[in-house]
Symmetry: D2
Subunit: 297 residues, 4 copies
């Protein structure tokens, strides 16, 4: 991987010319949105791309369609994809919001958790009395980060999975992308969980069917760009320089700089709201979006 | 229990005239502080007082000694008591900050966790290289509340305890007291854990040696007063009316009102800082208070 | 004034039996809401009630109508009353959010300002290009509090009024009420400005046509109750004791305790959102509520 | 100006080879700190550098001296320079914290204001009784930003200056620098006020002796880097390419991207604390740093 990115779509773009077998990429337009679906089906393709076998859906909102209608469209489209990848409509779902709530670009996961409607504890007579007996059981947790807790994110989630035994985990995380243009307006949804070493903080343990024993659907939004990657990306816009040349040129100083736009607070706030609404919508299809908006506040 | 309070000291005061066997209460003055120690040694006393057998230490800072010196005195005194009640100086400690970070008077626990120096993950060569091989392993977690997570606080803590196997849990929580005067300037430290049904939120599961399998030291600060209790307390100041009379008079309307002072943000901020420093000091006796202050920020 | 309250409605209730001339009180029901209008028309009535001559409108939302529909009804009803009391639909309006943003129950004013759509700087070609030439000019400021700034709130507002010369000031502030039941679900709108010595913080300068030279519409939400008042209110519920008896009984200890409910963060957040939407709606009648909701976020 | 920067030190470096008359640059080492002083004395130099005639002091903390001792050294050094540039030790000082408190990299000014000890309102007998009659009068205000208030920052400050008539204004603002390395660890103090068009938000009015009628000392910390500048800076590290070449290459896409590091929350928190302590120390030389730290919290 030349450029640091967690987006399968960006990795696939870079390797497109190689025509790797075992990768299918498809674009679809829904209203103002672009939905890209990448299927990685062979171990060889997984190796080359640097992403596990599985499906990666990327929903992109056009930057200038900043209005109410497209906001709802976006939520419905994300909800559909989440529902499709979860592929089970009854069991308990554990939503895990990864990241550090004190570092804005890494706070996406914990902020999404604040908007998730937890229902696992509303049971039996109480649920019936409140007219809520049709709700799917949902639990939600923000496990914190290793530096704050002294416990790997994966350990916390795994401990809780063992005890409450969900049928599926939905893991939300901030990602790194190749380009500043994508920060906050792109959402990646995948059925492969979260791989070690990816993400904003770069030190995380695997969260996957392999490590947890249940399917893991991951939802990520790019919120940072690596400094070197940014320089290279700007550079390539004008002049076709090879990845290797750029890397060699910038690596020594740019390597550890993760940058984020000035308006990161707004980016995170909007993205967290949209994703928590989409997850709620996917998990409680019998509730209207209006009711979900009202309950999520 | 006539008045709603989580403070053993207030419960003992109310029953003092009854001369219950199995209770010893002792006051001590250290600089500007008052330290009260209550030992409950018989099951009968535990029943009457409404608190499990064990030791309850209450550290009170005089309201008008609002200066730097007494702040340090307070931290050192609390640290000593915490250390004494933990009664083990080597094993892994899990600090759990209970409560809801979005409700200020209930946010004490989560805010304390932000100041805890987690060290469990600093091991082996890394620790030696950083000169940190002498540190006691500490993990820290804010498990959230049932309404937000769908999982009982006790379940989350218990899941993690099973996996990381600490030798002791330190649980921090906001409490209810009888009097507004005590809010924010009183700290109760006990070796009995946290009992069900106490606390600000009133719906919590037990966190104790019984439920977790390891000793639980609890640290609590009163941050709310029940509306009825407040009215009764103000009333009794002037005229000796019996508890029962007051209760009968106020219960119907005042029962569910938990009130907190206007300056609750400041109260929580100061208390959380003092308690996280005291816990760090108790767990890392080889570090100076200055170093702890610097690392906790 | 026996009980400490900033609500004209509560003061009028207390004096109703006296049949003071120069006071008219009227109740109206609109959907789920109750709207009370009090006209104080004589200096004698103003003296007895402790409020300046003018109109006081109190909008009350029933506590159990916690749904989307009544939220919109509430906003529209408040917007209508604000519009009626401003009584001018073209000139520049300065919205001033009074209070201390660091003390939750006093943060209502500053939080409302965060939601106000400021338009004074969108002028000429820019406004036309953006299709915004029909907007009323609005400026918005949170002047802070004396203890933080060293400048009286009234001085800051007055300095700015002199320079930008609005045709009207809308001042938003947190209030004290007599009863915990009213906190957060009652809004008082008046055309008399803000009187000295009222409000949560108790140390403020007048903000009125008299002091600023332009009409001042004030909007307030009760967020605190005085400790003595609370005790008295609970007491009177059961047993008819005179105001004087209660005062005499509680004053010495309860005088300075301002209390607020445990859920004050939620109360402030919801009230601030509703009021900023209502002000925006009142000032920009050509925009739909949906557009206002979208722009206010 | 090829690179976008608000630091006189960076501008001077770029033009050093030209040997412009009317510029004197001097470096000094104090403990762990480097203090650079630039005097711009001629109009020609001011034009070439793009900064008004006056003095610019830049205090740089070495990145790896992250300990208590150097924190105090830094505060004392900044306080000395602020005091020297204010050059008057009695009159009322108005501290103005510029920027948008809702956008983290732009929130430096408002956050500094939260730590300023305002004293203008502590007068006469009250001051004497509290032993505070020796304090210099200080007022502090966060005027907000045009987009939120509809009023130019310069208008708000100017309105208040007219009314309270300070002998000096201290204006605090977030800056743009050329290099990510400087973000958060460099402070520029100048006696020339704030020039139009500089700063993070790029749309501000002049704040200077010229516009306000009183001397303006400005204090700024770089918190953002322009995307193009960043790319160019990384590029130049390896290969000497001219400013013009870099600009031509990147401008079209990178122009409007202001980037900030992932840890911006921590950078702002630490910088705001250090600067508010330094200002308090400069304005109240009779108070000890310990007392100032205690009062500023």
């Amino acid at each position: 991987m030349i450029f640091r990115t967690d987006l399968a779509m960006e990795l696939e773009e870079q390797h497109r010319s190689e025509q790797i077998p075992g990768i299918v990429s498809q674009d679809e337009t829904v209203g103002n949105l672009t939905i890209n679906k990448i299927q990685i089906t062979s171990e060889e393709a997984a190796q080359k791309i640097g992403k596990p076998i599985g499906e990666y859906v990327t929903v992109t909102v056009p930057p200038f369609s900043d209005d109410v209608t497209s906001a709802n469209e976006e939520i419905e489209a994300m909800a559909q994809q989440i529902q499709r990848l979860i592929n089970d409509d009854k069991g308990l779902v554990l939503v895990a919001g990864l990241g550090n709530h004190q570092i804005t670009p890494d706070a996406l996961g914990p902020k999404v958790i604040e908007g998730i409607i937890a229902t696992r504890h509303i049971k039996g007579e109480v649920a019936e009395a409140a007219g809520l007996s049709h709700l799917r059981p949902v639990a939600a947790i923000a496990p914190g980060v290793l530096g704050q807790t002294g416990i790997e994110t994966g350990e916390v989630v795994s401990s809780i999975v063992k005890d409450i035994q969900p049928s599926c985990v939905v893991a939300v995380d901030a990602l790194a992308s190749r380009s500043l243009d994508r920060l906050g307006c792109t959402v990646q949804i995948s059925n492969t969980g979260i791989s070690p070493g990816s993400g904003v903080a770069n030190t995380r343990k695997e969260l996957s069917k392999n490590s947890l024993g249940v399917p893991v659907v991951s939802i990520g939004v790019p919120t940072v760009v690596d400094g070197t990657t940014l320089a290279g990306d700007l550079l390539q816009a004008k002049e076709m320089m090879s990845d290797e040349q750029i890397r060699e040129r910038f690596e020594p100083r740019g390597a550890m700089m993760m940058v984020t736009p000035r308006e990161i607070d707004l980016v995170i706030q909007r993205a967290a709201k949209a994703i928590s609404l989409a997850i709620n919508r996917a998990l409680q299809p019998k509730m209207s979006l209006d009711d979900i908006v009202y309950l999520s506040e």
